[in-house]
């Protein structure tokens, strides 16, 4: 059960998810240029790590009850992180061709800075009383930036702005990532919240949504990278494994799972079916 602080006996160590997201996300993005097939797959896997981190961060902050629903803070963080990530990549171009490698890390840092400013505004100007809002918004912003950059690098095969412009921005995929990544980050906790939320189970669902997005990214990457089918395949396999694990965990923690049959056609049948279920 998640307690008021969002890290009850059934929650996972927040340092572990943080390390998983930051190291996995950055490593995946920076390993993109190593190989035209393996690189994009690693970038997509990096984005999966970032999404799982973001899902944990949003679970912690939303355990408090924001009053506006779980998706709101996810959409907000994705919005400024996406802009922040792209402006980081843009500054790297502005600095010169030798500094292209700075792009993703700059985007990551800028997104977290904006996250800190917005969270600070919410705490001071709007007087919200959520002590972990600052930390979690910063984490969410970082995770969102890495997930956007990871999937963009997977499609473009590089994290340099000219490549991203050609294969992510002009086709309009950037707007798609906005919604897809928000869904992947906010859905797990939105679906699993409640008094007996188990964070391990929530994160299994986070892997499921993240791999689902990976599969879609693989399919839409078809015109731009020869690795599209590998990304889609990895996404599909990852989705199958994680969704099986999630369903198994849900069944294990449910009191009972019972098939209730189709809805009855008339009242007699309904009474009969209720009797059967009670027996």
């Amino acid at each position: 059960m998640a307690n008021e602080k969002g890290w009850g006996p059934n929650s996972v160590d927040k340092r572990k998810t943080l390390a998983f997201g930051v190291v996995g996300g950055l490593a995946g993005i920076y390993l993109t240029p190593i190989n035209p097939i393996i690189g994009p797959v690693l970038a997509a896997l990096g984005a999966v790590c970032a999404i799982v981190w973001g899902a944990d961060a949003i679970s912690r902050v939303s355990s408090y009850g924001l009053g506006t629903g779980v998706p709101s803070i996810g959409y907000m963080s994705l919005a400024f992180s996406l802009v922040g990530a792209l402006s980081g990549v843009s500054i790297a171009v502005y600095l010169g061709p030798h500094y292209t490698w700075l792009g993703p890390i700059l985007g990551f840092v800028i997104a977290m800075l904006v996250g800190a400013i917005v969270a600070g505004l919410c705490l001071t100007v709007l007087r919200m009383k959520i002590p972990i809002l600052m930390r979690c918004t910063i984490e969410l912003a970082g995770a969102a930036a890495l997930s956007v950059l990871g999937f963009s690098a997977a499609i473009a095969g590089s994290y340099a702005l000219p490549n991203l412009l050609h294969s992510v921005i002009i086709p309009g995929y950037i707007a798609l990532f906005f919604i897809l990544n928000t869904m992947a980050i906010q859905h797990p906790f939105n679906a699993c919240l409640g008094p007996n939320e188990n964070r391990t189970r929530t994160l299994k669902l986070a892997f499921t949504t993240a791999f689902m997005v990976t599969g879609i990214v693989g399919l839409i990457a078809y015109p731009f990278t020869p690795a599209w089918w590998v990304i889609a395949l990895v996404g599909g396999i990852g989705w199958y494994i994680s969704v099986s694990a999630f369903i198994a965990a849900s069944k294990e923690e449910a009191a009972e799972v019972k098939w209730t049959g189709w809805w009855p056609h008339d009242e007699e049948e309904f009474v009969q079916s209720v009797k059967e279920i009670k027996e």
Binding site: S72, Y75, L78, I110, F178
Partner: protein
Amino acid sequence: MVVDPLYIIGAVAIGGVLIGGGVHFIPVGGAPAAIATATGVGTGTPMLAAGGGMTGLITAAAATTSPLWLVLLAGGAGSALMLGITMLVGNWVYIWGVGCVPSSAKVKYDPITKYEQSKFVTPGTEGHGIPTVCFVSGIIGGLLSGFGGALAYYFLYYGLIGTSGYAIPAGAYVSLGAATLAGTFSLGLFFVNSVIASFNIGGTIEGFHDPKFARLPRGALACIIASAVVGGLGVLLVQGGSF
């Protein structure tokens, strides 16, 4: 046309305030309205921002090559129309589907139609559906936020096409890259400001007649600072366009 970076920051900050302020006018009912126990559209601000914002930006982007006032009007009309349709169809569902009378528990008489409200509010609920005053308020909110989004879109677009990376290709009227980036940026601005406004009003509001509307100045202050920061990122995007 070369756009000064300060214009971009200013336009985004003003656009952000218009969006954030506009959200205070929109009848957001949240989860209670989804089961018809509160007045307003039965969803949260992010969804309304997505609907109104995207439609407004599509109409604004369709007018890209037009002068500023036409782009602003197009954006405002798109957002207001989308919110109007959402509220109207929502009301059909509330009236003929759920079977309740649109009414508000926040005021005794509707400030516009002067109809009595309390008689029609089911005991234990905060009202139902979208009464006239909420509808009018929502249209004003849609117009304001549409103007805001279109303003940010217009200035960022013209900033971007001044750079070599996003310049208008020979033989084309618009730069697709600049339009997509400016559109996504403005959509992001919609989400940031609508969620900040939503935090300010605690998730639900009925419109300008709601007592929570008095919180508007604080929300506007938070929105203008946050939007100025996001506007700074917009300048960075423009600076990076020269490659």
